[in-house]
Symmetry: C2
Subunit: 191 residues, 2 copies
């Protein structure tokens, strides 16, 4: 069959979006090409018409997820919301419970650390953008170097406490972790 102009690009986007969700939910290694393509309504053979390798899809999916998150943060900040809104939104139970729609770093950072340098570099770039957004949302009277370090500390706190809240089986402790993460991140933002 012959397809509309833009059809292939649309298919590619569907694959990337499916991958971005499943990788965050299940981890990259646990998701196979065949199952992923089936989820996107295709057969596995066509995969290599879109990507040179699974690793290339990993990078595309990582970028897709990062773009979504960045957009979400930008919207919040442009509405005049503070860093506090970002922190509270990040450490909500709903974010803990839907990793497939959430922060790619929280779901995949340890796995990314073991991937090819090219993938790690792409991730590094996205993480720098995220930190720049956080930095820009810190009080303007802070020296730039302090803001930069503070942004790292704040996001590190968010990342770590969210992951703890996800791993733990005790639901009371899990909520306490989210709350403690908010407290700690806000303390770092305002002191």
């Amino acid at each position: 069959m012959r397809f509309d102009k833009g059809h292939k690009e649309q298919t590619r986007r569907r694959i990337v979006e499916t991958a971005a969700r499943r990788f965050r939910k299940e981890g990259v290694e646990a998701v196979g090409i065949a199952g992923l393509m089936a989820d996107a309504g295709l057969t596995h053979g066509g995969f290599y018409a879109h990507f040179a390798s699974k690793e290339e899809l990993v990078r595309a999916a990582l970028e897709e997820a990062s773009d979504q998150s960045r957009e979400r943060r930008a919207v919040l900040l442009e509405k005049g919301e503070s860093l506090e809104a970002l922190v509270r939104s990040y450490l909500r139970p709903v974010h803990r419970d839907t990793p497939e729609l959430g922060c790619a770093a929280a779901a995949l950072i340890a796995e990314i650390a073991r991937h090819e340098p090219e993938t790690r570099s792409a991730f590094t770039g996205r993480l720098k953008e995220l930190l720049a957004q956080f930095e820009a949302a810190l009080p303007v009277d802070m020296p730039e170097e302090v803001r930069s370090r503070r942004a790292i500390g704040i996001f590190g706190t968010m990342l770590g406490t969210l992951q703890m809240a996800r791993a733990v089986t005790d639901p009371v402790l899990s909520v306490k972790m989210l709350e403690s993460g908010v407290e700690a991140a806000l303390a770092l933002a305002t002191m």
Copy 2:
């Protein structure tokens, strides 16, 4: 062949120790039973004389790694060192560069969150012990509830910043992440 009394237990320990290192370095999923047994100087068939499943080994390896870390922390604290020494030791380049000997949570927490409840529960128990050690090292004049939340915030910060420092390809940024993590964790400990 017949073996010494205690021989089997010794073999089991060797398997667990090998697993504890490789899981932290490569991730649980990337490590196969056959390769692991070969590393321990055995053939893969004998594995199931020691463990009912790979998952059971995961739990044993997690406990082995946690025990090692707890011991290390206890030694530091008993020498009269403060929480600051723990934080600085955790966020050293050598810890970033040798995950196979380091914190199991930093290497595996996201993967653990996707494992069986039994494994997650075992991890939760170990994490509670860790947090209790941190709590005990916080100033005694802090109310207990505050110390408990602060311990979560501090360890979350350490966890998140170490993982960032491991994932990133920019070496300058990586060191900055470790340093910012120390600053943030110490600020939370002393404020």
